[in-house]
Amino acid sequence: MTRKRQELLGKGFLWFCAVVTVSSLLLVLAYVTLKGAPGVSWNFLTASPEDMGRKGGVFPAIVGTLFLVVLGIAIATPFGVGAGLYLAECVSRNSRLGEIFRFGIETLAAVPSIVFGLFGYALFVKALKPVTGGTTLLSGALTIALMILPILTRATEEAVRAVPVSYREASLALGATRGQTVFRVVLPAAAPGISSAVILGVGRIVGETAALLFTLGGSPLVPRSIFEPARTLAMHLYLVVLEVGAMDMGFATAFLLMVITLGLNLAVDAVSRGK
């Protein structure tokens, strides 16, 4: 019967799609591990790059990544959480103002990272050079903070909305002000959702390159203040691969990046399971 054949073919096609999706991940994971894992040693993690990155390690890039993550999250979180809170608590779902704010944030989420890079370059690196010092950790962090803002805002709004109304009513009925209710009851209840968004934001910062190419400076030295240029692991990968051609170093860095990405993914799982 042709209907049965059609059903079998369809089922086969869908399994094929799923297998393609899963195997593209496995292929990338396996290849990068195979090529990169052998290059990761204690020395690789703790030494500075030598000979433009052909030899040595990635220590400065690790430090740069850490600095950028901490700084970027520190800048973005108050704004992202504040905005999410405002959208969830202070404007009704379909109000005009809420629509406009949400449109702005959705659109920000769609801006390509290279455009953030252009913007950061024009504003933080060039126009605000006296404040930021040009291509520095600060400029990079400001640029990337803008980029992860929508992730934080959206997740906070969702998490805050998901807090049962009964919590709020219970708190208000006990004579708490709205502020007390929000900060002592609602936000703690929304904390797991917000934390997973922060971890996602960390992932974005670790993986980003285009927005940082012309804002962070790419210095191969360990940054000692936020007014010094730096490079992240992802940037380092790009620079050693494309400008130096040191593939082995690139793969070792890629392997490191993937381990970090997997770790962050597990962290998100752990946080949301702990809900």
């Binding site: 405002y86 202070c90 704010f101 709205r178």
Partner: protein, 321 residues
């Protein structure tokens, strides 16, 4: 927590709750706002206003290029060669277009197929694996995709090119860096977006439709193709359009595998440069008009992506109704 709230309530002086009219007070009454609300409003205004600020800045910096080169000469100019004073981004637009279209051709069937698999066919164990894989694919940094593409895909495609491109063809057709390389990598990169949004759309199809169709003796495949996909179409389209936006906006992976030659794509083997890669490749050393031209390139990019995003949002809203 209940206990502590209860105690606090019991100890709190009841004075302000027994004031005149207080019993009719809704929790959201417009009486004086608290300080935190103003702070939160400021944060929202900054977060939502940022995109306009970014747009304004990029426009401001890119505008001189339109003025000096001329809008049409810029957009329709066939040669991009800043060192020789040619600022035509048509080949770059064409390259972006070619890469994006081929990406969609490669990505849509497999991604939508995976989404249908997940929502309609998959046994639980397989769902878990596929979902995790999609999650992880979304988290891999683009430079890692780029490196992977450079070292596996590009050599493979070079071999295909050497075998298929006729003798005497320009040598750039046998380098492996090409529209095809970029599209394959991008197809993998946008798959998570398309899959997860399509999944949402498919899941929101009421199960009554599914039961109604199966209950009439339709096969699963018939149910999927004749009832479920048509109903979920707006949502899936939103996912595809958002994926398109990601493809157009992706920089690093494309920069690493597309070849970066501002050529018109004549075949899938032509090395091309995209709007994003053009900026990334040149802004480091650009000055003056050249720099303005790259910001103008950014304007074009901005426009395309915002347009795609708005259309996607529109479809999504329609799908939710």
């Amino acid at each position: 927590m209940d206990d502590s709230l209860g105690q606090r309530g019991a100890q709190a002086p009841p004075s302000h709750t027994t004031g005149p009219g207080s019993t009719t007070r809704a929790p959201r009454t417009r009486r004086g706002k608290e300080t935190w609300e103003y702070l939160a409003l400021a944060a929202t205004a900054i977060a939502a206003g940022a995109v306009f600020f970014i747009a304004a800045f990029v426009f401001w910096e890119g505008w001189p290029a339109f003025r000096e080169v001329g809008f049409f000469e810029f957009v329709l100019g066939k040669v991009w060669s800043p060192t020789r004073g040619f600022y035509g981004i048509l080949p770059i637009i064409a390259g972006t277009f070619a890469v994006t279209i081929l990406t969609l051709i490669l990505a849509i069937p497999v991604s939508v197929g995976t989404a249908v698999f997940l929502t309609e066919y998959s046994p639980e164990w397989a769902s878990r694996i596929v979902r995790k894989a999609v999650d992880l694919l979304a988290g891999i940094p683009s430079v890692v995709y780029g490196l992977f593409g450079m070292t596996t895909l590009v050599p493979l495609i070079r071999r295909i090119e050497l075998a298929t491109v006729p003798q005497g063809a320009p040598s750039y057709l046998t380098v492996g860096y090409s529209v095809l390389s970029a599209s394959v990598i991008l197809a993998v990169m946008i798959a998570p977006t398309v899959i997860s949004i399509s999944c949402d759309a498919l899941k929101s199809v009421p199960s009554e439709y599914r039961e109604g169709s199966l209950g009439l003796g339709a096969t699963r495949w018939q149910t999927v193709t004749k009832v479920i996909l048509p109903v979920a179409a707006p949502g899936i389209l939103a996912g595809i359009i958002l994926g398109t936006g990601r493809a157009v906006g992706e920089t690093m992976a494309v920069l690493m595998v597309a070849g970066n030659a501002p050529l018109f794509p004549k075949s899938v083997f032509t090395p091309v440069r995209t709007l994003t890669a053009n900026i990334a490749a040149e802004i480091g050393y650009a000055t003056g008009l050249h720099e303005h031209a790259l910001f103008a390139d950014g304007i074009a990019l901005f426009f395309v992506v915002i347009l795609l995003n708005s259309v996607a949002l529109w479809f999504r809203r329609k799908a939710l109704k």
